[in-house]
Symmetry: C2
Subunit: 114 residues, 2 copies
């Protein structure tokens, strides 16, 4: 398991990227998908996820459709046009972040420095 402190800050981008991928998803589904894609290494907490979804909706980044499945409410989220451009920005930033971390982590003694 990856420590929450490390993941902190990436939540929004992760959620938005998955929504871009899947068109629409509900909260619980997002947590499942993240666990699946990361081999259980990233687990989103509901206390973090749902407030973020609500916030993104209030900002006009996401829209919701409530549906009923087996007497359980599912609230599907999908990107607005504004949301689409936000994802693009966020994903670019995350790619730069990954590149940056890699250039630090992958340092090799005696090869890159002097």
């Amino acid at each position: 398991m990856i420590s929450p402190d490390l993941i902190k800050g990436s939540l929004k981008t992760i959620v938005l990227r998955l929504l871009k991928e899947n068109g629409r998803m509900y909260g619980y589904e997002i947590t499942r998908k993240v666990e699946e894609l990361t081999a259980g290494r990233i687990k989103l907490t509901y206390g973090a996820l749902y407030p973020v979804l609500h916030k993104l909706e209030n900002e006009g980044v996401l829209v919701t459709e409530a549906e009923n499945f087996n007497n359980r409410i599912r609230i599907y989220y999908s990107l607005t046009p504004k949301g689409n451009s936000v994802v693009a920005e966020k994903v670019n930033e995350m790619k730069e972040f990954i590149d940056s971390l890699q250039s630090i982590v992958n340092l090799q003694p005696g090869l890159n420095n002097g």
Copy 2:
């Protein structure tokens, strides 16, 4: 520039990884090196860096040697044996983190899902 929220949480690992690489470094040097390695995309703030260095010292992860250069104090930090094992753990975790982020960011529509 990568947003502070994204970097937050990685600071400790970045610092430790650089110290492992360079043997010993002083605070200001660490900020320069991170900017250099990340093409200016990650800028550490002193308000974050120095408290972290002090904390790691108190935990027995780092030791210090104060030196004088041009009438300016330089406090060099280097890893203790304990520090070496901490770096190893932290770097492993970060590699898993990077892998996880990549498996989300690099999703391709219609290829991995169904």
